[in-house]
Symmetry: C2
Subunit: 356 residues, 2 copies
C-alpha cells in the first residue's frame, strides 16, 4: 500500500533525495567509503558542504553579506543562541508570541535581558497570527516565528520593522520566496522542507556578532561558526548531505517559486474541502491559515475514531493533530505530492457520504 | 580496489551497520517510510531510542542510577555544558591537559569558574599521558580525556579520585571495558566507535545536576534531557539509528571484552612493526601509547612522499598524521578489521625492503 506522509516533522522528503542518500550510505560517489565514515576534513565533504551552501544561497537568493551556517541542536538551541549573541547586557528584545515555540524562544531570551512581548495570540489558543502591533525602537531585535506548526497559522507577510528582525522559519523555509535582506538572522531546524533531523540552518548578516558584551561559550558563539565555515568541530555530515540532495531536487523542479505554486495548490485543495464539507471545520482564522500545516476538526467529535480508522486503512500517515489543538493536522511540506492531497480530499468526501 | 579506512574520525563503521542503515533510509522495517521522514514521537522511533539506550547500558554495564542521553553539538558543546551544569558559581574544577582537546575543555570551564590544571604534557607536545599528579579535594570535579586522538596517547588506567570524575571518551568509548561507576559523567562524540557524526552520548549520574547555582539555557541543562529522555526537542534520528545498528554489531561479535581483544591484537601488530622496522618510529611514549590511534614518523622524512604514494596506490585511506604531529596516524577503531592492519604492516615491510 502506498503511504501518504502528512507528518508534521521530521516529515516527507523527496524520493530522489532518499535514494541518493541511501546510495551514499553504501558508497559515496564510487569512493569505496560510506558517507558515514568519511572525514569532515576530506575533499569529498568540502564539496558537499560547498554545494549545500551554494544551493541555499541560490534558492533563497541570500545576499553576499550573509553567512550560511549548518549547526546542531535544533531551533530550540537557537532560542538561547539568539539572545546570548544579540541581546546586550541590560538590553531588551521584542517577541511576538504566536505559539508555544515562540513562547519558548522568549523564555530563553529572559535569561539574558528584558523581553517585551509586543503581541500575543494566546487568548485564543494561538489560532491567529497577531497583527497591528507596534514595534519599539529601543530593542535589540524583533523575534518572529513565520509558521506555527502546531496551530496551522502562518505569517502571510512580515511587518515593517525599525529594528533588526530575527525569524524562526523552521516549518516553512524553502516553501515560498522570502526577501532575506529584510532579516538579520533566520534559523530553521532542517526536518521539514530541507532535510532530516540533526542539522539547523542559520542565515545571518556577517556583522551582527560581538556586540552583546558577554562571554559566550565557543560553540554557542555564531562568530566561531562564521570564522570556521561550520567546521569548527565535526559537523553532522550525513544530515547535511541529505539537505544537499533535497535542495538539488528543489532546484531541479524549478526552485522556490515553483514549489510555492504547488504548495498553494495543495493548501487550496484541502482548505476548500474543509470549508465545503459539512463534516469538517478548520481551527485557524482564515486570514492566518498556514499553507504548510492545515489543522481541522470534525464537526461531530464522536466521528473522530471512525475517520482515523479510514485514514489508517488507506495509508494516510501523521494526520493526528497536536494534543493542544486536537483533531487533525495535515502537513503539506514541499515533498508531499498534490496526489496525496487529492487522495485525502477524496477520503473526506467518501466519509461525508457515509456519515452524511 | 578494497579500501582500508584508517581515518581518525568520522571513522570506519561495520559493513553490517551501513547496510542496515542504507536500507532504513529507503524503507524502515517495511513501513513504507524512510527513517529520515518518520516522526520522533512515533512508535518506530521510540523503539529505536529504547534499543540504543539498552545496548549502551548493556555493553558498558551502566549502573541503574545513571542516565544515558543522546545530544547534539559534539564533545565541543560538552566542554561548555559540563562546567555550566557542574561547576558552582565561584567554584573550582581540576583539568588534566593531555592534548589540545583537553585544553579546549579547560578554556570553556574558565568562563564559569576557576580552573586548576593539575597536570599537563604540553612540555613535550602531548606525547605522553600525565601521571603522578595529586588531585585537590576542594574542586567540583576532575576532568580527564581518556584518549588523545591527535597524539596517539591513551590512559591505560584512571586515577583514584577524591572528587567526581568527568571524562571525555570520544575516541575510545566501547573499545575497552570501563567501570562506569567510577565516573560521574562520561561524554563522547559518536563518530569513532559508536556511529556517525551528529550525535553525542552522555552517560551521567542522575543526581548531579541543579547544584551550580546559575540559570542555564534549557537546551544546555542536562536536567532537561534527563527529564525528557532525550526527546525535549527533535533528536538526531538517523545518527541514533546508525549507533543502534553499530552497537548491535558490537554485541553480536561478543561485546566490549571481545573487541578489546581484537583492538589489542591490531595495536600490537602495528606497534611491533614500528618498533622493529628501521624506517619507522613511534611518536608517543611507549607507556602512553593509544590502542586507537597509532602515530608514527619515518626515520628519513624525505621518504614521506614516496610512502604516501604507496599507501594511496593500495587503497589505504586516512593515514596522514595531524599537522601538529606530522607523519602518519593509523586509527584502529572497532570496525577496522585485523586484516587491514596486516595489510598495512605488509606494505611497511615492502617499503623497508625497497628503501633499506
Amino acid at each position: 500500500m502506498t503511504k501518504h506522509n502528512f507528518g508534521a516533522g521530521p516529515g516527507i522528503l523527496p524520493k530522489q533525495a532518499l535514494e541518493k542518500s541511501a546510495q551514499a550510505v553504501l558508497d559515496l560517489n564510487g569512493s569505496g567509503l560510506s558517507i558515514l565514515e568519511i572525514s569532515h576534513r576530506s575533499k569529498d565533504f568540502d564539496d558537499i558542504l560547498a554545494k549545500t551552501k551554494s544551493l541555499v544561497k541560490e534558492l533563497l537568493n541570500v545576499p553576499d553579506n550573509y553567512s550560511i551556517l549548518f549547526l546542531q541542536g535544533g531551533a530550540s538551541t537557537q532560542f538561547a543562541m539568539v539572545p546570548m549573541n544579540l541581546l546586550p547586557q541590560g538590553g531588551k528584545a521584542a517577541y511576538v508570541e504566536s505559539g508555544v515555540w515562540a513562547s519558548k524562544a522568549a523564555k530563553e531570551a529572559k535569561l539574558f535581558g528584558e523581553v517585551e512581548l509586543v503581541a500575543s495570540s494566546k487568548d485564543r489558543n494561538f489560532c491567529y497570527v497577531p497583527s497591528g502591533y507596534s514595534i519599539p525602537k529601543d530593542v535589540a531585535y524583533l523575534h518572529l516565528t513565520s509558521n506555527n506548526t502546531i496551530y496551522g497559522t502562518q505569517m502571510s507577510s512580515f511587518p515593517e520593522s525599525p529594528v533588526p528582525v530575527v525569524c524562526d522559519m523552521s516549518s516553512d523555509i524553502f516553501s515560498r520566496p522570502v526577501d532575506v535582506s529584510n532579516f538579520d538572522l533566520i534559523y530553521a531546524g532542517a526536518q521539514k522542507n530541507m532535510g532530516p533531523a540533526g542539522v539547523t540552518l542559520v542565515i545571518m548578516k556577517n556583522d551582527i556578532c560581538g556586540k552583546a558584551g558577554r562571554k559566550i561559550p565557543t560553540m554557542l558563539d555564531y562568530q566561531t561558526h562564521i570564522d570556521n565555515d561550520s567546521l569548527f568541530n565535526t559537523p553532522p555530515v550525513f544530515p547535511i548531505y541529505v539537505c544537499m540532495a533535497t535542495l538539488e531536487w528543489l532546484k531541479e523542479i524549478g526552485g522556490v517559486p515553483a514549489i510555492e505554486k504547488t504548495n498553494k495548490e495543495k493548501a487550496e485543495l484541502l482548505y476548500s474541502e474543509i470549508d465545503s464539507n459539512p463534516l469538517f471545520k478548520g481551527t485557524a482564522d482564515k486570514e492566518s491559515r498556514s499553507k504548510m500545516n492545515v489543522c481541522f476538526l470534525l464537526e461531530r467529535p464522536e466521528l473522530e475514531e471512525s475517520f482515523s480508522s479510514l485514514l489508517k486503512a488507506n495509508g494516510i500517515i501523521g494526520l493526528k493533530g497536536h494534543r493542544s489543538v486536537g483533531g487533525f493536522r495535515a502537513s503539506l511540506y514541499n515533498a508531499l505530492p498534490v496526489s496525496s492531497v487529492e487522495f485525502l480530499v477524496s477520503l473526506m468526501r467518501d466519509f461525508a457520504k457515509s456519515n452524511g
